[in-house]
Symmetry: C2
Subunit: 484 residues, 2 copies
């Protein structure tokens, strides 16, 4: 039984978000930093209840997984507080009037980023905390100064309702305007909100078909809005000849652990291992993958979808099985398949698309030219990984232009399934990784998605926003007359 | 007779742009700064020929208009050279490995912006230099490291061809890769290029219907791409009660000059003047507008389109004429109309839409509440202007949230038709001002449109891009471990 927000409640939520937009935008970054910290503290205080709810609805292990994910989520809220106190995110820029400006006299002009307005966030199935009600999109939108309407994922709706209550109450108790945060339920309700003119931007984490459908709706509005969809990713991993020789078995074991982690339900799951032909790792892979315990998938719909895609992959020309996993209700054991680069290059969607679940495909390549040919035919994604040796720098350097085209994050001798939250993180990439390749949905730069620039020309100091006043009352890092 | 690029030539241009993308991306910012300067020098050297061509095709006065526009254009190219030498645009960020990172051990991760790939630029009709072949979109895309395919505007195609020859030759002579810049002609050719998978982003300056049609094509691609359309803007100007009393006549004269400048063919033309009812400026306005000399519009299509829209505005309920301009072939004298805020609020598209040409609408408001009501029903645009007195700070402050929602640039006691190129400039706004409200098409921040972030996790120094190496060989401003 899915929850559904009533039409009247949806109207009330959207009206409240619109009404909150101006007072919320008028808050100072320091105030919002305090509000985000208050939300983090409130969630931490209810950790036990929230983790139990999440476990019951998603079948993910309470520890370390859900406990770690909640810790990540509250850390993320606090980190955006640091972004606000730092102030550089505002991009405050002051150009004084300059009669000698080479293209002609320049007026006094000053630029700063302002909140875009109410943001609609579509929560993900696979991260009930970190990409859901109080997740990265919510944290970055609130940090930017935007009210948030959160469309809950039906896979964990009780958790979503409860988390939403805690977030909304903590915000109001800390002094944020009423109506700045609310959770809604229901597919149609989400679409209605996306079409509503009071919504100024939207974000989404999920599948390519689901995200594309919402993207298309956002773009077809009379007034299109930014839509930040984080969709699919195959996450290729390359094993160089040197790494194969030096530590092939260790790489094979790491790969088995990474692609089967969390029942393969990460957008950064390595879906392809590109390894030199004649690698001789078959037994190691069979043993490592065969030793992974059965794990429950998130829900029946996802488990069934995975089974269908896996059947297509198994039936694809030239693909053979290394480990044939099975399924009992939600519980799956991992599957590993293999093919050659030649078959892969001749293959269709079945070998090229993301398989959301515990399966991966080993592709053997004859030489560097064939490896590059495969890379250059892949669709862009979130990550691309190289396992190599430092003395192969020339070999790896030749791959880098292909890898840079292919992904938002490149990894060296590591696995893509861990995504830290930091200043330098990048979680994104060209379509179909995302619908907005110039942005990130993880890391401090995620705040940029919900800000737009406004320039103030010739205003008296008293009417300028604080960020742009001559005396720089917020002590912001600013660029002034071109100088940092 | 319109020029048309042949199918074979279009294929050659797109193939060359794709082939140039990697060598172009591999150039250093300092190299590209030199290339942009070489282009600027080459254009300046041919100024006489180019201005004559532009005048013949657009009917714009050679001096000061076209001469000034070319100076603006070459200045802009050189300013992006400064952006490249400054280096902050790369957003280089270094997070060292940190085992004590609160959410769990952090790997070494480093983020920098990279070029998106080949950019398709649709040139504008009304700025044959500054928003055309060597204009702001081209300058910012080349600065970012992206090859450019330039779709010429049919309103000045000989100029476009000649400018394109100069730009392409200057780039190659300065050392840029062959194929990094080319001009194409033809509506169908532009659409075919926009649909081509080798194009990674597109930009456009022009009308709402034209821009929306191209935006829809870009969004409907199998892999949608960023589309930066700068479309329409009404550019309201508010006269406060204080400004009316203190200097109403001067404001009226300034308004007449601004909306009729260049035959009203600026995207920043003030299309609405909001002035207190009973203003008593009718005679001043009639005299100032009546004294503006007849000016040629850009071409027959634009002149005819203007006449149609003006007829709709004249026929709109409650609208009356203050000055009835006329048209002789391309030559137009300006028209001024007036209505009340009440009629405006009850009115439809005819009073609310941009009229591209020498016409504007004076709207009288009863009080501040009615003024704000009008502002809050306007569609967003590029600019909003206030003519006020410093002792009215409270009155103006109450308008600012409405104005900030409404535009990308706010002006005080000035006119929006001048758009300086500088670090703080913002030329954009929510739809229909643009299709990308988080960006600008003028000013140094325009480069951000053509860059996407990539993070490098755990890479050895020798394999990192120069911008991210530990020794910071380019001496970039970087954020390291959260500290600026």
């Amino acid at each position: 039984m899915s929850l559904e927000t009533s039409e009247a409640d949806l109207e009330r939520v959207l009206g409240a978000a619109a009404a909150a937009a101006r007072p919320f935008a008028a808050s100072t970054p320091a105030e919002r930093a305090g509000w985000l910290t208050a939300v983090a503290d409130a969630l931490d205080a209810e950790a036990e209840e929230l983790i139990a709810l999440a476990h019951a609805e998603t079948h993910l292990p309470a520890a370390p997984r859900l406990k770690g994910e909640l810790a990540r989520t509250t850390f993320q809220l606090r980190l955006f507080g640091e972004v606000l106190r730092d102030g550089a995110y505002l991009g405050a820029t002051v150009d004084h009037a300059d009669p000698g400006w080479p293209m002609g006299p320049r007026p006094d002009i000053r630029r700063v980023l302002v909140p875009v307005g109410p943001v609609l966030v579509f929560a993900a199935s696979n991260f009930p905390f970190a990409f859901s009600v109080a997740g990265g999109d919510t944290a970055s939108a609130l940090a930017a100064g935007c009210p948030v309407v959160l469309k809950a994922h039906p896979g964990h709706e009780e958790l979503s309702t409860r988390t939403g209550e805690i977030v909304a109450a903590a915000l109001v108790a800390a002094g944020a305007p009423e109506g700045a945060f609310a959770v809604i339920h229901g597919v149609e309700q989400g679409v209605a909100a996306l079409r509503d003119r009071r919504i100024a931007a939207a974000s989404f984490t999920g599948s390519v078909p689901g995200g594309r459908a919402l993207f298309d709706i956002a773009m077809a509005r009379p007034a299109p809005i930014p839509f930040y969809g984080e969709l699919g990713s195959v996450n290729p991993v390359i094993v160089t000849p040197g790494a194969l020789t030096a530590r092939g078995e260790a790489v094979a074991k790491g790969y088995a652990g990474s692609f089967s982690l969390g029942a393969g339900q990460f957008c950064t799951k390595p879906g392809l291992l590109l390894v030199p032909e004649g690698h001789g790792l078959e037994d190691t892979l069979r043993e490592a993958v065969g030793g992974v315990a059965r794990q429950d998938m998130l829900n029946e719909r996802i488990a069934a979808g995975f089974a269908n895609k896996l059947a297509e992959l198994r039936a694809a020309p030239g693909v053979s099985s290394l480990v044939e996993g099975d399924r009992q209700d939600l519980g799956c054991t991992p599957s590993l398949l293999t093919t050659t680069a030649k078959e892969f290059l001749a293959g269709g969607n079945a070998v090229r698309e993301e398989h959301f679940g515990p399966a991966s495909l080993v592709v053997t390549y004859a030489d560097q030219a064939e490896l590059i040919e495969v890379l250059d035919t892949l669709e862009p994604g979130l990550t691309a990984t190289v396992h190599g040796e430092e003395d192969e720098a020339e070999y790896v350097r030749a791959l880098l232009p292909s890898l840079t085209r292919l992904a938002g994050r490149l990894l060296w001798n590591d696995w893509p399934t861990g995504v830290t939250v930091s200043w330098a993180q990048q979680h994104g990439g060209p379509y179909p990784a995302t619908t907005a390749p110039t942005t990130t949905s993880v890391g401090t730069a995620a705040i940029e998605r919900f800000l737009r620039p406004v320039a103030w020309q010739g205003f008296p100091d008293a009417l300028l926003p604080e960020a742009l006043r001559e005396g720089n009352p917020w002590q912001l890092p600013r660029r002034t007359d071109g100088a940092r």
